[in-house]
């Protein structure tokens, strides 16, 4: 049997740095190692001794793609520790801010990072020649999300307006109303992009994942909900660490999270869709089916459809929130520090994001724990790669490498988040 080594120096079109190593012996895939070499940044360490009120601004810097997710999990966790409730229009504004991030982050992944895989282009710019309209619509979609983010947050990356208790400033009705035409146009763009994506050809792969996502009494989940799975998990955020365990592996600076009871699981748009499709409304669910996405879908390549459906949902939800908006009297509720521990889980674009803070009486952080979506998906991504590589083991190496990269990109991994991503090395023995 020939011994061969294939190297993919750096995984592209993902956020962050890492590599993939495949050990192939006698034509069988023995080991798959998703190695994240993104240097560690030690957030959980330097958060100790900081003011709990600083957590949203400090943890936002974990990820430039989904800072709102970090800010949301941070404020909810700190508020849980302080024993304060943020309701009414302030709660609605937080959901609106999350809609904005889902729109810009999903639009980025669908059009700029993921679609080129299906159409055989190295990037969206090269793809723009043959698919100019779709790329322009995608960019317009992203821009609409960013415009909303900028109004609510002050800027697109690392917004400045989120605080424990609410916001520093709330928008006027007129400011939000001014965005309605752009969002109405964005809805048309989202539907057109979704139909374009629905026309792609999807590899016939199906896996029996354990999907994990938040589940809320009556909303598609963003800021709140119980943590549920299709295998009976149903817990509060405060029980996260009892149900999940973070493991360190020698080849990665990102910790891997597993379910203590059953091991690997999947978070993100496909999990959210499968566990919450009944919260999308009949019309959108019918649209999803029309695109080729049906409840129970275990084909990771179809996650791009779940993102397209979620973008459409987020725009519609944003329009609903804006319609019902009445500016609250105060931009925040009073947050008085007290000693305690607070946990929260929110739905980042890539899946559930857990934060826990132990806080001292003077409001400073004694201990912090953060579990990002990509750490949770890491082991499952390795399983996906193993499956794709096993099926494609006899493919020419260039094609095999492509298939492996695609299997990874399906999950929109954010390596900066996981710490914390890709060079592919196939060692054939």
């Amino acid at each position: 049997m020939a011994t061969k080594t294939i190297r993919l120096e750096y995984l592209t079109r993902v956020e962050g740095e890492g590599s993939l190593v495949l050990d192939v012996r006698e034509g069988n895939v023995e080991n798959v190692r998703l190695s994240i070499f993104e240097p560690p940044r030690f957030f959980e360490a330097f958060l100790r001794g900081r003011a709990a009120s600083e957590a949203p601004d400090l943890t936002a810097r974990i990820c430039g793609i989904c800072p709102v997710a970090y800010q949301m999990s941070a404020v909810h966790a700190v508020e849980a520790a302080f024993g304060i409730e943020v309701g009414g229009q302030l709660r609605a504004l937080r959901r609106l801010l999350y809609c904005a991030e889902w729109i810009e982050s999903h639009a980025l992944h669908i059009v700029m990072l993921h679609a080129p895989d299906f159409l055989g282009f190295p990037d969206a710019i090269a793809m723009a020649g043959a698919h100019g309209e779709a790329v322009r619509r995608g960019l317009a979609l992203k821009k609409a999300g960013n415009a909303l983010l900028k109004l609510l947050g002050g800027r697109e990356v690392h917004p400045v307006n989120v605080r424990v208790g609410g916001f520093y400033r709330v928008p006027t009705q007129a400011e939000l109303a001014a965005l309605q035409p752009a969002l109405a146009e964005a809805r048309e763009n989202a539907v057109a992009v979704a139909r374009w994506v629905g026309g792609f050809s999807f590899p016939d792969v199906g896996r029996d994942y354990e999907f994990v996502a938040l589940r809320h009494a009556d909303e598609y989940p963003m800021n709140e909900g119980r943590i549920v799975s299709n295998r009976g998990l149903d817990i509060a955020a405060a029980e996260f660490e009892a149900a999940f365990e973070e493991r360190q592996v020698a080849y990665s600076t990102a910790l891997q999270s597993v379910l203590r009871a059953r091991g690997h699981y999947l978070v993100g748009p496909l999990a959210r869709f499968n566990l919450n499709h009944d919260r999308l409304g009949g019309e959108l669910l019918a649209f999803a089916a029309e695109l080729g996405l049906r409840p129970g879908c275990g084909n990771p390549f179809r996650s791009i459809l779940a993102r397209a459906v979620e973008v459409t949902y987020a725009i519609e939800e944003a329009l609903r929130i804006i319609d019902a908006y009445v500016p609250p009297r105060e931009p925040s509720v009073r947050a008085e520090a007290r000693a305690g521990t607070g946990m929260a889980c929110t739905e980042a674009p890539r899946g559930i994001l857990y934060h826990r803070y132990g806080i001292e009486a003077d409001g400073s952080i004694a201990e912090a724990r953060i579990v990002p979506p990509t750490s949770q998906n890491q082991a499952t991504i390795e399983d996906d790669v193993r499956l794709v590589a096993t099926q494609g083991i006899h493919l020419p190496e260039e094609e095999l490498r492509e298939q492996c990269e695609r299997a990874i990109r399906n999950h929109d991994p954010c390596i900066s988040c996981a710490t914390h991503f890709l060079r592919l090395e196939v060692r054939r023995r």
């Binding site: 962050g16 810097r61 800027r155 697109e156 307006n161």
Partner: protein, 264 residues
């Protein structure tokens, strides 16, 4: 007519959050035009085509925190005509430079169960500490308008017009009422480099210094004002110790207000 060869652009990531290079993809209206004017030769976050150098312009995001990256930045410099450091990580070491004030061993064991697997330097340092940098763009994150101005200026062969005043001046120009004077809210605007657009005061909060120290920042005088507004030493210490903690004027001022564990 012979087409003029487009300059090649490379985008590099070191230790960072990806937010500054994302600013380039956030130029939704200009992205296709930029891609028409420059030849994007290396941009791993956006393209699978990674072409070897030399490059005309390299945008560098992130700080240096590993021995391997200290080596890699030298290769980037050697293969680039112009090196532009973008963002607080690349220009000041970023938030991860908080390790410079701590024992990195303690940090590793706080996050990782098996510290022996982790390879990292004791400090996070800016790009200019390792190689010659031609231009620095401040901010956590950078302002995409400033990035577009730099790229346009380079293409036109002129000096970029980048903010060099303080947030305080930019805030006055924006016409925002002073949050320190009007509301008694502690603000780092007087000592912070402009470029952000003075967003925070316009949103009713004090500037938190994410663009780093302004030229000739009188941090001691500002701290005295903060004391008058009721800020304690610890909060002043924390205010200077964030995304530009290792930038000299901010480092000095935070040191002057004690260590987290041993308040002065």
């Amino acid at each position: 007519m012979a087409e003029r060869k487009r300059p090649t652009l490379a985008v590099w990531k070191f230790t960072s959050c990806d937010g500054c290079q994302l600013s380039l993809l956030d130029c939704e209206d200009e992205l296709l035009a930029v891609a028409g004017a420059v030849d994007i030769a290396y941009f791993a976050e956006a393209s699978s085509t990674l072409r070897p150098g030399p490059y005309d312009v390299s945008l560098v995001e992130g700080s240096i925190t590993t021995a391997a990256d200290a080596e890699r930045i030298r290769h980037v410099r050697a293969s680039s005509k112009v090196v532009i450091a973008i963002g607080a990580c690349a220009t000041a070491g970023g938030i991860q430079a908080l390790r410079n004030f701590a024992d990195v061993g303690d940090y590793i064991s706080a996050v990782y169960a098996s510290p022996e697997y982790i390879r990292t330097l004791a400090t996070s340092t800016p790009i200019a500490a390792h190689v010659k940098v031609d231009l620095e763009l401040r901010g956590c994150p950078i302002n995409k308008e400033e990035l577009l101005e730099v790229v346009s200026a380079l293409l036109a062969g002129r000096r970029p017009e980048i903010a060099d005043e303080s947030v305080c001046v930019a805030c006055k120009r924006r016409g925002t009422a002073c949050v320190m004077v009007a509301h008694g809210t502690p603000c780092l605007g007087p000592v912070t480099h402009a470029g952000c657009g003075a967003i925070c005061p316009a949103y009713g909060r004090g500037c938190y210094g994410c663009y780093g120290p302004a030229e000739q920042a009188n941090t001691a005088a500002l701290s005295a004002q903060w004391r008058l507004l009721g800020a304690d030493r610890r909060s002043i210490h924390r205010a200077f110790r964030t995304f530009n903690a290792a930038a000299e004027p901010f480092r000095r001022e935070s040191d002057a207000h004690g260590d987290e564990d041993h308040p002065a």
